[in-house]
Structure formats: structure tokens, C-alpha cells
Amino acid sequence: MNSNPIDVLVIGSGPAGMAAAIQAKESGSKRVLLVERAEELGGLLSQCIHNGFGLIYFNEDMTGPEYGQRFVEKVMDSKIEVLLETMVLRLAADRKVTLCNKYGIKTLAPESIVLAMGCRERTRESIVIPGYRPAGIFTAGTAQRWVNIEGYLPGREIVILGSGDVGMIMARRLTLEGAEVKAVVEILPYIGGLIRNEVQCLYDFNIPVLVEHTVVNIHGIQRVNGVTVARVDQNRNPVPETEKFIECDTLLLSVGLIPENELSYMAGVILNPVTGGPMVNERMETNVPGIFAAGNCVHVNDLVDYVSVEGEKAGQNAAEHASGKASPKMGIKLEAGENVRYVIPQTITGQREVAIRLRVKEPEKDVILKVGEFMTKRLKVVKPSEMLHLVLSERHLKGIKKGTAQLVVSCRKED
């Protein structure tokens, strides 16, 4: 390593991190360091061997590894420094980063940092499914790693709790592997993931779906030998006498993703309780100067393409910060209003064009999406599983009254 200071250090080499590092380099940063805890670049893309990636970013239908490879090659070509099998042990508010790998412990002080740690899966423990603690309970993503990277099957007869995208994709994957997926069980009245996965992974493979159901019991002390499912009422509580035993040797969980922010927390980055990720402004900068964030560690995105775009934005602004450019003042807060779960970014300047992303709380038809009083958009269908995108152009922003401190973003049903 050379002795010049690092301009931009990116933590995590998934789609957000790679895009951030590439963009930081392209924006003129001399030294960009990309740090990855795993054995190779790409984050979870390497294990997502299904297609559907890149439709927006590259206008091509690609697999996860193909999508990732485009970025890996750019990282390699653009003289970005890469450290693999390297864990960030500490991150401080003054941007001191302590790294650990087989060469030792090192503390660096980069000008800018991009947090791109992605997300982790909600576990059986965190949702308190009753029962014993046998072998045979896997999160869907861990099962995906076992099948696609390591080449082992977690089981032969499988029940999947939760209909997140990874769960549905694993339902298809395991069916193709010769395992029997006996049911996908979803507590909500609708499927949790993307419509295309619902069709292509579940319906096309005749996988039984039980909505408004949950797993109320896991059987087996040493290895799973079955689960009991039951219908739930409107409050998501199991309805007595609707229990049904399903024999299986494996339970997969696809019950939600949690942005990974232990490092952000250490550095004093303020997290949004709804997204679980840092509060960011339109530059993807957190409350800690010089610390930026992008991708699933900010909020769990629906498509990887948007993660890459967010990464680029963070990378570019991290480079600008590293070159000493002062941050513009973020004067206006974006508040989540009626039927809006969250809005990213949480603050904007109101001076220049900005793209915002949001998710709704409940599915709804024929709605009006409103930003403050100056922008409205009619939408046929909204679903919590699919992010909504809006661009506030300079023309729109001119409609903001002087002195406005916050804008409410709402998604109301049309009268």
C-alpha cells in the first residue's frame, strides 16, 4: 500500500459498494479502497444465480453473477484498491477505520467513507417462532448460499415461511434441485415479494401458497420433522383449531431483511427506526460529515439496479467531499405521510433536481401520490413490495414556498 491518504473508503463490495467505488474513482478520487469481508467481490450477487438483474441499469436480463461481473471488471480496471477477507472492526465519528485481516490490524483515516454493508436476514430467534431448536431451520439466503455456492441441499421436504423474494426464489431453486417444497406460508393476505417472482417462482411451479397463515410449531428435537401451520386473524394471531401438520425436514425463513448498521451505530450515525438504516440527505450523506451510505444498508431495495444507482450517487459525493468541496445545506425534510412507510432521502436542498424513492404501507389501487402541495402523480396500483420512484425536477422545486422546512409525501386513495 502506498502512503498517501485514502480519499474514499468503501465498506462492502456488493452492488452498492462496487458502484460507489467505481464512481468515486471516476469522479477524480486518487485513492479509493474497497473493503470486503468475504472471499470475493460481489456480495450476495454471486449466490443469486437466477435472472432478472440489470433490466433497468443495463437494459438486459442478466443473472446475479453476470450483473456483478460487469462491476467487478470495472473495479479491476480502474485501479481501485481492494482488500478481501478483511473485516472492519471499528468505525469512529472522526472516520477512523480499523481493519483486520490476515496481515494484521490497521487503522486508516480516509477523507470520506461509504457505508455499503447491505442487509442481513431476520432470524427465527428474532421473530420468536415457538418450538425446539433442531437442525434444519435456515434463513432463505443462507440456504441459497449452501445450494448455489457450496453445492449442498439443506433438505428434501421443505416448508418456507414468508414470501419475500429470496424465499420465493429458493422455492423454485429447490424444486429444480429435486426437493419438494410443500408450502410457502405467508402471514399477510398477500405475497411479500415482487409480482414477477410470485408468478415465475410459485405459480409456474405449482408450489402451494398459504396466505394468512403462519408456523405455530416446529417439531423435532434434533432435526426438523414437521411444522404446524395455522390460519391467522386480522391481528395476525393464530386462529384456534385451524392448525395443520405438515411433514418436512427443513424450514426456510424469508421473513424480512434488516439493514446491517453496527458500524454506522458505532460511528454515531443516526438511524431511521422505520428503515433501520441511516438517515441520508440527497447526497446520500449521513449526519456524520464525510460518512455516506448506499444500498440495502440504507433501506432494503426491491431491485439491485436501484442499489447500483444509489451507490454511484454516494460514491460521487464521497469523492467530492474528499476533494474538499463543501456540502450544500439540506434545508427541507421529506416526511412520510398517509400510507407511506418511508422516503429516501430524508432531507433535500430543494435547489436542484432530486430522485426520491419510497414504499407504501398497504397495497392500494387508484391512488394519488403527493409531494407537499406542488407535485401529484396518479398511480393504478401500489404495493409495499415495490418501491416507487419520483423525480422532483427543478421546475417542481420552484413550487416550494420559501422557508418550507418539510414536505409531506403521501399516497392517498383517489376519492
Binding site: 469481508r37 477477507e85 473485516m87 472492526l89 480499523t98 483486520c100 485481516n101 490476515k102 496481515y103 494484521g104 490490524i105 487503522t107 442481513r120 436476514e121 432470524t123 427465527r124 430467534e125 428474532s126 420468536v128 417462532i129 415457538p130 418450538g131 425446539y132 431448536r133 433442531p134 437442525a135 434444519g136 434463513t139 439466503g141 443462507t142 448460499r145 449452501w146 445450494v147 455456492i149 457450496e150 453445492g151 449442498y152 441441499l153 439443506p154 433438505g155 428434501r156 434441485e177 429435486g178 426437493a179 405455530v216 428435537i221 434434533q222 432435526r223 425436514d249 427443513t250 453496527e262 451505530y265
Partner: protein, 517 residues
């Protein structure tokens, strides 16, 4: 059974919990062959694993005495709960002092945590005063506490329920430990001194062969002179194998425990509890860098392995925990588990350490809770008992009392870490993000006998954090397969029938093609 014994020993210990491992270490001071048998794939697979842990004395012991009235009629006067002459009380009092040095000898991670018994209403204050008065009456370490007011409570434990009015406070009555580490440390030191430990070895029968006894196990038979039954919850079944059955009346009581994320570690500084009432335990405690909650009743169950977690218990427990620390949140739960406590109804207050009525070389060592505190005096008592029964106990000259823990990378300074990585680069490869556990630690745990996913977890903490092995799980399994030189599909979660991965990918498809499903 006519098969040749695979081993011969002077003493066989059945059960690898804290009782069995404390016995193993004690006997390893003497020149005799000792073999410890554990049916699980790792030590402390039963009651010890699911215990609240802690090594405690004084006020908390008073609390525990009240707790034990779980099986007594309500309204039993508190003073009647103190039985100075029971082995239980004697060993607890002796044991606490002894652990203070043995924890260091065995390099077991431990820390004194302050105990605060809080009260917020008249009824609780009445219960609190009972504990206070009993403590004072007993004197000595029992009386080594102070009563503090609301202001002081909140300065010591700022996050507790602001409605508290008074509390009893003792700074040196509770030592926070991780129970499996205690059993594993005792066993490692015993092995270092010549004891043999066999995992995955279930006792299936006991027979006589001349002057000897034959212990038949799932892995072959072992010829021995003496047998120590430390099988705790399974102790009655083991005892019945050695001779005619007797009515043990073992009772099993289960409680749920909850672990919160390390992010919450500042919620309490030590153990904070409501005053004990018979049959209930309500406490929130700092356990290493997590928060441990045990709030609930001791519910009867008919099996010692009934570690089934009931959702309603978790919900109720959380509600109660919030009355102690209002900011506790379900969002921070990273684990829930159920422990089973074993009582004998013949003498609820006490342990049973006595020879089988018809077999004078078979000693039952059935310990009631708390098992860890009194384990060291218990083991000495058993050695004495064996001696009296004719077992030749000659002290070894070269007994080594010290054990080094697997390096706790997370707790080391960067300077120390760098030194370790310099010596062995595997210590620079962090495998478990949540708990900062390195490959070097995992390899060392395997070298010391860890052979299952759960074993590695208990020995190193890998997979014990918030993601529950989401990232490190596959990596730990692969390291196990590599170091043990076994196929990945042979790696177990804990016992032999807890296979993790059922087959290689494509295997099901190939089987289908051959037409043999």
C-alpha cells in the same frame, strides 16, 4: 453383552454437565483412570446449557432459597427456607469463595456484577424487607448489602423503572459467567490431567462382571470399578440400570430466557430484579455484552429435555421485563431458549449424593439448582466418599491446575491482536462478524474437542450474535469439515441425529433418474 471393553477405568462419570465435569477435574488430581461419558455431541448439552448461570452468594442466595419454595406451599415462612445443614446450603457458601480463585485458574471469563433488588409498591417493599431481614439475621456475607433510595438506584441503574422506591444493593454477590464455558473449562483441565472425555456416548446398560461393572454404551462397553451418576435429569433412568428401580420422583420445571442484542448492553449494569416471591423469578441482567431476561414461573413438565419454547411465555416474560426496564423492546430479541431445572421430591431442598441401595460402587450425584456454585465442594465430597468406599485415591504430584482459554480475540487490544496474527494469520480472519470470532479461534476450539456447530458456538461464541450464523454458519461448518476431515454432510448441529445438510446438490435428481427415490 459379550463384546470386549473398549476402555478400562477406575471411575466412570456419566454426564458432561457442570456436575460431571467438576467431578472429572477433581478426580484428575489423583492417580486413577477416569472416563467421562456424555451422550450429546458436546459437553453441557442439558441442564447446564439452559441454566441461568451466575455464581452467586449472599442476597441472591437468599433469593434462591425463596425461589426453591417453588415446590412448597405458599406462605411458608422465609426463615424456614434457610437450611444451614443441607449439603446444598453448605456447598453454596463454600463454593462461592472457592470459585473466586478457580475462575482465574481456569481462565474463565467472569465479572462481578452489582445486584439490585428493587421495589416500587407496598407489597414489594414488604417482600424486600423479608429478604433484608433474613439476610441480616443470617449475618456474614448474607448481610453484606445496603438499602438504597430511589435517587441512588437511578444513579446506579439509570434505566430501571422510575417508579422504584427502594432497593437492596450488593456489589459483590453475583459473578456473571457463561455456564457452558465453566463446564468446558473444567473438562479441558481434567483432560489435560489425564481424564478421558467421550462425547456422543450414551449409556444403554450397566451390568456386573465379577468385582467390576460394565457400562454398556452406544460406542462399546467400558469396564470400571466405580460409577458416578451425574446425569441430572436422566439420573433416575441411569440409576435404574444399575439395579432395581426406585421411586426417584424427579421433577422437571422449565423457564424461558431471552437474550437481547449487544446494542442494549447499557440497559442495566448488573442484575436487577423484583423481590422474589415463591415460584417466580423476575430479573434483567447484563450477561457479558448482552442483556439476559428471565422473568417467569417454573412450569412443570414431564421431560428433562423439554426445551420447547412457548411463544406466550416469551410475550409474558417481555411484559414483566419491561416493568423492570421500561425501554426493553421486542425488536432487540436475538435469542430465546428454555432451560429445564431438575428437583427431586424426596428432598426438594437438597442434593442427593448417596450410593445406590443395592450397588455400593454406584454413586448417585443428583444436584438441584444452583448446580454451578456448589460444584467444587461437591466434587471434593464425592472424592472423599469414594475413598471411604475403597477407591484408591493417591494424589498426583504433577497435577496442573491451570487452563488457558481460547484467545478471546474480541477482548484483546489491537497490539495483542497483531501479535497473534503475526504468529498465526488465521487469527486475522474474522469469521463471525457479530461476535468478532476469528478462524484461529474456531480451529483451536476444534483442536480442543469441539466437533459440532453448537460446540463451536459455545466454545467461541461464533454464531451467537444477532445474525445467528447467517454469515458465519456455512463458514464454520466448512472449517469443521476441513479440520475434522469429514464430508460437509457429516457435520452436525449437536448430536449424531442433528445433521445440518442432508445431501449434495444434484443428488436428488440423480437418484430420481435411476428410478430409486
Amino acid at each position: 453383552m459379550t463384546d470386549q471393553p473398549i476402555l478400562e477405568a477406575e471411575v466412570v462419570i456419566i454426564g458432561g454437565g457442570v456436575t460431571g465435569t467438576a467431578l472429572a477435574r477433581e478426580l484428575s488430581r489423583y492417580q486413577l483412570e477416569t472416563v467421562l461419558l456424555e451422550k450429546g455431541g458436546e459437553l453441557c448439552a442439558g441442564q447446564t446449557k439452559g441454566s441461568l448461570g451466575n455464581i452467586y452468594t449472599g442476597l441472591n442466595l437468599v433469593g434462591s432459597m425463596i425461589l426453591k419454595s417453588v415446590l412448597l406451599p405458599l406462605g411458608t415462612p422465609l426463615t424456614e427456607l434457610y437450611h444451614p445443614h443441607t449439603l446444598h446450603t453448605k456447598w453454596c457458601e463454600e463454593g462461592f469463595k472457592e470459585w473466586e480463585s478457580v475462575l482465574n485458574e481456569l481462565d474463565i471469563k467472569h465479572r462481578y456484577v452489582p445486584l439490585t433488588i428493587i421495589a416500587k409498591d407496598e407489597n414489594q417493599i414488604k417482600n424486600l424487607e423479608k429478604i433484608r431481614d433474613l439476610g441480616r439475621q443470617l449475618g456474614g456475607m448474607y448481610a453484606d448489602f445496603e438499602q438504597i433510595d430511589r435517587e441512588e438506584i437511578l444513579s446506579r441503574e439509570p434505566n430501571v423503572n422510575p417508579e422504584v422506591m427502594t432497593a437492596l444493593f450488593a456489589s459483590k454477590h453475583v459473578i456473571d459467567i457463561f455456564p457452558p464455558e465453566v463446564a468446558i473449562a473444567l473438562a479441558e483441565n481434567a483432560v489435560e490431567n489425564g481424564c478421558k472425555v467421550l462425547l456422543n456416548t450414551e449409556v444403554v446398560g450397566i451390568s456386573q462382571s465379577g468385582p467390576h461393572q460394565i457400562v454398556q454404551t452406544s460406542r462399546g462397553s467400558i469396564k470400571t470399578n466405580f460409577i458416578l451418576n451425574a446425569a441430572c435429569g436422566w439420573g433416575d433412568k441411569i440409576c435404574d440400570m444399575a439395579g432395581e428401580g426406585r421411586n426417584w420422583g424427579l421433577q422437571y420445571r422449565k423457564t424461558v430466557m431471552i437474550i437481547l442484542d449487544t446494542r442494549c448492553k447499557g440497559l442495566v449494569n448488573g442484575m436487577v430484579r423484583w423481590p422474589n416471591v415463591p415460584g417466580r423469578l423476575d430479573l434483567v441482567q447484563r450477561r457479558e455484552d448482552n442483556i439476559l431476561i428471565e422473568c417467569g414461573t417454573y412450569d412443570p413438565t414431564d421431560r428433562p429435555d423439554d426445551t420447547y419454547t412457548i411463544r406466550e411465555d416469551v410475550i409474558k416474560s417481555m411484559e414483566m421485563a419491561k416493568t423492570i426496564v421500561p425501554t426493553i423492546s421486542e425488536k432487540d430479541i436475538i435469542n430465546t431458549f428454555t432451560g429445564v431445572r431438575v428437583f427431586n421430591t424426596r428432598d426438594v431442598e437438597d442434593h442427593i449424593v448417596e450410593f445406590h441401595p443395592s450397588n455400593k460402587k454406584f454413586l448417585n450425584v443428583i444436584i438441584r439448582l444452583p448446580g454451578i456454585i456448589g460444584a467444587l465442594p461437591m466434587a471434593r465430597h464425592v472424592a472423599e466418599t469414594l475413598k471411604k468406599a475403597g477407591c484408591r485415591l493417591a494424589k498426583k504430584d504433577d497435577f496442573r491446575p491451570f487452563r488457558r482459554a481460547i484467545p478471546r480475540f474480541r477482548d484483546l487490544s489491537d497490539e495483542m491482536r497483531n501479535r497473534m496474527i503475526g504468529d498465526d494469520p488465521q487469527y486475522g480472519h474474522v469469521v463471525c462478524r457479530c461476535e468478532t470470532v476469528t478462524e484461529g479461534q474456531i480451529v483451536e476450539a476444534i483442536r480442543r474437542g469441539g466437533s459440532t456447530e453448537e460446540g463451536i458456538r459455545m466454545r467461541t461464541r461464533a454464531g451467537m450474535g444477532r445474525c445467528k450464523g447467517g454469515f458465519c454458519g456455512p463458514r464454520v461448518v466448512k472449517i469443521l469439515a476441513r479440520e475434522l476431515n469429514i464430508p460437509v454432510t457429516e457435520v452436525k448441529k449437536r448430536s449424531l441425529d442433528s445433521q445440518l445438510l442432508l445431501c449434495k446438490s444434484k443428488e436428488l435428481l440423480l437418484r430420481d433418474e435411476k428410478g430409486s427415490a
